[in-house]
């Protein structure tokens, strides 16, 4: 069976390159922005990029830590 274009390894590599290119563009586009910070740091170069990235990593880590305590098999309540 012919693989769909989207799932071929070659296209996935291409998508990554395009994605990283767009990421770089959005950061560079920040150079043309008038800084209008409400709290100081949020006006600094690339703030939203690193802040978004870091907070996502932090949320995943917190979720994984919470899972250590709270994770159960999905049949946990079946005996109700």
């Amino acid at each position: 069976m012919k693989q769909h274009w989207l799932v071929r390894p070659g296209s996935i590599r291409l998508l990554w390159i395009v994605f990283l290119g767009i990421l770089a563009l959005t950061v560079l586009a920040g150079l043309l922005m008038h800084p209008h910070a409400a709290f100081g740091i949020d006006g600094s170069f690339g703030f939203y990029a690193w802040f978004g990235f870091a907070s996502c990593i932090a949320m995943i880590v917190v979720a994984k830590l919470l899972a250590i305590v709270l994770k159960r098999k999905d049949s946990y309540y079946d005996g109700d």
Binding site: T26, F51, F53
Partner: protein, 562 residues
């Protein structure tokens, strides 16, 4: 003013819900699609500020009290009832369609309730209609989850009732206006409202009950209960500081739990709590901009969340599967469902040119204007998190990731049309926000499309996307659930009660043995004196009886003379 202008707009839906089971299939479809349109017409022909009053037990009720906010919510509820009905026409049971109309009718009636009695009546009606929607799936899980749903919402209703009684006793008025948290009664009203909003600690009812409903049932459920709660909080408690804390908890609770979840519709259920959290923060900040933002976000949220759930519902309807671990690769055979799901996902993530972009940012802008630094940074982090848990996670695990080998086609026409309508609205509102801004309760002085806003939002979202794909190995789905506060009443509570019952049983058994022994002794004593050989039951000779009578009479005579 003509008579037609003062028909409560919720009324046709409530009556229609009762008539629906008596109709033929064709008429039923006409009612399900036509009545919501009639409601929209009734809402917009109301004279501004119209009030219909009714005297009841000496209180002045206002079952119809027009406000800009009420119109906004009633309009989106009616749009939702239309699209939800269209989506469910082919697979929802008659009773289920009835319940969906009833819940829409109750929600719209709440949006026009000018007094607390009317509010309470439709509040309870909404709880019952929603329970019926959950039960309509007719599975063991939906029966149990529906029961838990009902108990919790009746509890919330009792809190609300108690608060209303206290409020009326103190003020003598049943009017529903803004309140301050200055008495236990008002705290109870707030608690009743917050339970319906999915606020902690009782938020687990939402991901517990909604995903057990049918595909169309969950679409209908997602809109009304939590958003009427947002409406009543906007009306009753604007600017109550404590709501900021509640809202922030909900925002992060939704993200973290959705990240760990495997069931696609439970992911979206957690994300409802997350989105309502944004609105509650907006209500808590309490400026005109933030209240506008909360109202606008409720409007756009109802539409894109319904769209996401229609997409997920279509997948469930076509495959019968609901777990991410069983799904994947569906974009190949369900392209329309995938595209609509992705549009909903972009809208919830507030990508530029979608509806979320023009509503959610009003709330974080209001936080910046009020110099609430902590709130602002958390809201921005949460915006990134929305993309993470709903914006990418849902489409990725359902439509892409590994190939599950499933090749179901797109769903039937009515379901496709409902998705196309809402996908269109998600983009139309994002491209052309002016009509929505005109409907907001306060004048809007907010421009969403500035160069800075577009660039910063793209940075934030695309780098969240990068984080998602880098962390993908850690996000692999497993066959697990995550315990929530409902563990206390689903597991610990029943176990403690069981334990208590066993202890009582044992105590009772001992008591029973003791009691039987006492009763046995008593009967033995009785037998001793009154049994066949008992001294008091013996047969006496007539002579001795006469002798005793003579003696007794003699004693009596003597006693009389003394």
């Amino acid at each position: 003013m003509t008579a037609i202008s003062l028909i409560p707009p919720g009324l046709p839906l409530v009556l229609g819900a009762l008539l629906l089971p008596l109709c033929t299939a064709r008429l039923r479809a006409l009612l399900v699609l036509g009545l919501p349109l009639l409601v929209i017409a009734l809402v917009w022909q109301l004279p501004a500020g119209a009030v219909l009053t009714l005297d009841f037990l000496g209180y002045e009720l206002a079952p119809l009290s027009d406000s800009k906010l009420g119109r906004l919510f009633a309009t989106v509820f009616a749009i939702m009832a239309f699209a939800g009905g269209l989506f469910g026409l082919n697979h929802m049971r008659v009773a289920e369609l009835s319940a969906a109309l009833l819940s829409a009718g109750c929600a719209i009636s709440i949006a026009f309730a000018g007094d607390l009695v009317t509010l309470l009546v439709f509040w309870e009606g909404l709880a019952l209609a929603s329970t019926l929607l959950v039960w309509s799936a007719r599975t063991t899980q939906s029966r149990d989850a529906g029961l838990r749903y009902l108990v919790l919402h009746l509890f919330g209703g009792v809190l609300l009732l108690a608060g209303i009684i206290g409020h009326v006793a103190a003020t003598g008025s049943v009017a529903f206006t803004a309140m301050t948290l200055d008495s236990p009664a008002h705290w109870m009203i707030l608690a009743g409202f917050l339970i319906n909003a999915g606020a902690p600690p009782l938020s687990a009812w939402l991901p517990d009950a909604y995903p057990e409903a049918s595909p169309g049932g969950m679409v209908a459920l997602s809109a009304f209960t939590t958003k009427t709660a947002v409406f009543v909080l906007l009306t009753g408690f604007p600017g109550a500081d404590i709501l900021i804390a509640f809202g922030l908890y909900m925002v992060f609770y939704g993200i973290v739990y959705a990240l760990l979840e495997n069931d696609m519709r439970r992911i979206l259920a957690y994300s409802i709590v997350n989105q309502v959290g944004f609105m509650i923060v907006g209500i808590g900040i309490g400026t005109e901009l933030s209240l506008n933002g909360a109202a606008a976000h409720a409007f756009t949220h109802i539409i894109y969340k319904a769209l996401l759930l229609m997409s997920a519902g279509s997948v469930l309807y076509m495959t019968g599967k609901r777990k991410c671990t069983d799904l994947g690769g569906l974009f190949q055979s369900m392209p329309l469902t995938a595209v609509c799901g992705i549009i909903g996902a972009l809208a919830i993530s507030s990508f530029p040119l979608t509806s979320g972009f023009i509503s959610k940012s009003m709330i974080s802008q209001a936080a910046a204007d009020q110099h609430l630094a902590m709130v602002w940074f958390l809201l921005v982090a949460a915006s990134a998190g929305v993309f993470l848990h709903a914006g990418i996670k849902f489409p990725w695990f359902v439509f892409f990731q590994k190939d599950s080998g499933l090749r179901p086609p797109d769903p039937p026409l009515n379901m496709r049309l409902a998705m196309i309508l809402f996908a269109f609205l998600c983009i139309a509102l994002g491209v052309w926000p002016a009509p929505l801004y005109d409907m907001l309760p306060y004048p809007v002085d907010y421009v969403p499309y500035t160069y800075a806003h577009v660039v910063t939002m793209l940075q934030l979202l695309l780098f969240s996307g990068l984080a998602f794909f880098i962390m993908l190995p850690y996000l692999k789905r497993t066959l697990t659930i995550t315990l929530d506060w409902d563990w206390f009443y689903r597991s610990l509570g029943p176990r403690l009660l069981g334990q208590a019952a066993r202890v009582l049983d044992r105590w009772h058994a001992h008591r029973r043995i003791d009691a039987l022994r006492h009763i046995g002794n008593f009967i033995g004593t009785l037998f001793l004196y009154h049994g066949p050989q008992g001294i008091l039951a013996r047969t006496w000779a007539t002579g001795s009886m006469v002798l005793w009578v003579v003696i007794l009479l003699g004693i009596y005579l003597v006693a009389y003379y003394i």
